[in-house]
Amino acid sequence: MSARPLTVLIHTCAALLAASCLAATCRTGLEERSTALAFGVLVTVGELSRWTGARVREAAPLAAAGALSYALLGEDAGQATHHGAPQAVAVVLAAALLGSVPHLARGHGPELDHLARRVLTVGFAAVCFQPLYSRGVFDAWHGAAYALLLLALLALTALCDAVLAAALAHSRTRWPFGPLLRDELHALLGIGSAVCATGAVMALAVAVVGLWALPVFSLPLLLTQLSFRRYAAVRTTYRQTIASLARATEIAGYTPAGHALRVASLCRAVGRDLGLTRPELSVLEHAALMHDIGQLSLVDPVPAGATAVLPTAEQRRIALLGGAVVRQTGVDSAVAVVVERQADPYREQPVAARIVRAVNAYVEKARDAGPGGPLTALEELRLATAEQYAPDVVESLARVLARDSLTLPAAG
């Protein structure tokens, strides 16, 4: 199925919504300018402090929370507000555009996905809330009930955002939609819940104390953002360190250069295709990077590091040695288990070990076999699915290779 039109559809919807909201706001003019300005500044600051680089779920939590709370703002220091849904979208859009100027100037491309998601989620929240609020539908909801109502609306918005994000990622990468959506929903528990709670609290706090609530409450959320950023940074360096530990075998001449990285990236792709969760994927990737590390303990290098052609008993011995080395490194012990069991028959293996085994064998067989190598290698793997390689993993590998145009999908 061709998935690219999905991106175009989402972007068009966002553009239409943004254009109509801007037009409506231009016609009627801005209501409550100081409130609009304050929230605009908050969203701009949030966008300015956005992460770039590290792969994270919500790059600008402060901007997201500020935008949502403006969409759900019903009162300002006890006075009812009159900005409708169009103005909420227009102000957030303007602030987000303004906040992304420095990112553009630094040469990061315009993040259309990010903008589209922001516009659509704010539009959704504002359209759900503002018309009903100004018609007095929520007048019966007092006190705690009103707070819970806002929270429920935000939860709904967050769900929509997760679906949007998963759809965009699916369209961009063509990974299966289900696991992507599951990952997005799982991330809602972390920073997503903090954004929702902050959005609700800001709307309520502005209703009680006025605009002073904004700076007072931005600070704790900035703290959250900082912790997440540090967490993301240390994860990145950790991955780099494991990758270079993995290269020890290459430097020492046990395996060909680039082998570990190649196996790891293919494993990740297969893992995605099979719908592994994020934590499982990270264990898989680390294990794939270090799958050959047991060879460091060998006296004589295996010719070209090709373990797939060795007798099974020898393969298992090297795998166990590798597991022992990995256990010493302080990496998650799940990684050591995968490395240890990579040479077992597939029916006894955990799924990550099956993937590592099949992918490693494919890479080793395809490496020096010339132009027809990949196809022959895949065929050999298919013939050995009785005992050594899991059939579903091999098929998934074939799909991944076909998708990346690395080789033609072999008829089978």
Partner: protein, 436 residues
């Protein structure tokens, strides 16, 4: 573990008595007991969650919200159940929990008293901003002062640190986080008194909890990361038997030089890593050559001299190492251009590499190798000074000498290392050469 000193015990007893005195007027206080119970419950729950995530530190927003909402003795009561149920890592557990609870009771009591005296509680009820920020700020200051004063007092009694040093560091470090917690607490208090009630107030805690969780994850991941780096180094140590512990010591000496040169903390840390990882390329050199006793043939020497390039090849993908990567590549260059791999001259050699070169040579001379015994520190320093200018950067050598004169050389002894024998002064023979 030695018994708690008697003075410290008396100090803790006084603290507990003070806390009890704070709680004394409770029966006569008119207060909403359900609010006290709810806050105490939430605080205890947060403490338990912190224990599960292994976060160091206390969850102050709830306590400070209590201080902003309730009269002093009732606010102090909020801290009691959570602190008494909290986890104590070291023995004796009961006195530790008691001390903690008493400190928090006193701190919250002081905060609430200051806040009430400045008319903060009325400001919270009327949500009178920005005035409400002033009493809240004063209360945060009082809270911080009391807690750090009590902690500092105990440190003075048990560790004999001078009072001012014990207290000032604690106070400065804890003020910023407590201030952020204070803002969250103020928001909680305002929302609690608003028509939206306690439900809205508890929502404030969610982002704080998430931030905490992320912080705990960060620490876990960082520990794992450091363990992995150590594993890289251990892999070298396994191959190269007689340099055991060498990497850690070179890291330490590099750190001393960097600090003496007045580099900022971040750069000092990077140079420590540079020292630790400088020989990581030996993973690529055949074990037989590394362990060979006796002189090497020119052929073998050339193979061993490839290790800086191997090492650079390994670590160049690790972003945070920064200039440490250049140090790994160039730590065998000499100022006069006779080093390897590129034969760079003078300032062409990166500064980090010049630091590591001196640290490496120093440790190579002062530790015992299979082919010779360790030389004493002064002899090694003389040797370094003799080669300064031709082989080493004189600035780095001077810095090392100054640092060693002031602090002495106390290399961290790793577990596998044999105790070092004090070596007799060896006659200065061959020019200082860092082991190849």
């Amino acid at each position: 573990m030695e018994a708690v000193p008697r003075r410290a015990r008396a100090y803790v007893a006084c603290t507990v008595l003070g806390a009890l005195f704070c709680l004394l007027p409770l029966p006569a206080t008119r207060v909403s007991w359900s609010a006290v119970a709810l806050l105490a419950l939430v605080y205890a729950a947060c403490e338990q969650a912190a224990a599960r995530w292994r976060v160091a530190g206390t969850f102050y927003p709830v306590l400070l919200a209590g201080a902003f909402l309730l009269p002093p003795s009732a606010a102090a009561l909020v801290a009691l159940p959570g602190a008494l149920l909290s986890r104590a890592d070291q023995r004796p557990r009961l006195p530790r929990r008691g001390r903690r609870a008493a400190q928090l009771v006193l701190g919250v009591w002081a905060a609430s008293a200051v806040h009430g005296a400045l008319g903060g509680r009325d400001a919270v009820v009327a949500s009178d901003f920005p005035y409400a920020l002033a009493p809240a700020g004063a209360a945060v200051l009082a809270f911080c002062l009391v807690l750090t004063a009590l902690d500092g007092g105990l440190r003075v009694l048990t560790e004999h640190v001078p009072l001012r040093r014990a207290w000032r560091g604690l106070f400065v470090r804890s003020l910023a986080p407590v201030a952020v917690h204070g803002l969250a607490g103020l928001m909680m208090a305002v929302l609690w008194r608003s028509p939206y009630g306690p439900v809205a107030a508890l929502l404030v805690l969610l982002p704080m909890c998430v931030s905490w969780w992320a912080f705990a994850q960060y620490h876990r991941e960082r520990a794992a990361h450091q363990a992995t780096i150590r594993a890289l180094v251990q892999a070298v140590d396994i191959k190269d038997g007689y340099t055991r512990g060498h990497s850690e010591r070179v890291g330490q000496a590099s750190m001393m030089i960097a600090r003496e040169l007045g580099m900022d903390d971040e750069r000092v840390e990077v140079l420590r890593f540079a020292g630790i990882l400088h020989d990581v390329g030996k993973l690529g050199v055949p074990t037989r050559l590394l362990r060979k006793d006796g002189p090497l043939t020119p052929e073998e020497r050339r193979v061993i001299e490839l290790h800086p390039e191997y090492g650079h090849e390994m670590v160049r993908g690790i972003g945070f190492l920064g200039e440490a990567r250049a140090a790994v590549l160039h730590h065998h260059e000499r100022l006069d251009g006779s080093g390897y791999p590129y034969g760079l001259v003078g300032t062409q050699i990166p500064e980090s590499a010049r630091v590591v070169a001196v640290a490496d040579a120093f440790d190579a001379m002062t530790s015992t190798r299979s082919y010779r015994r360790a030389r004493p520190v002064p002899v090694a320093l003389q040797e370094l000074e003799r080669c300064a200018g031709s082989q080493f950067d004189p600035r780095m050598v001077t810095a090392l000498v100054r640092a060693l004169v002031r602090d002495g050389w106390h290399p961290a002894v790793t577990a596998q290392e044999e105790p070092r024998v004090p070596a007799p002064p060896a006659p200065v023979a061959a020019p200082a050469r860092a082991h190849p």
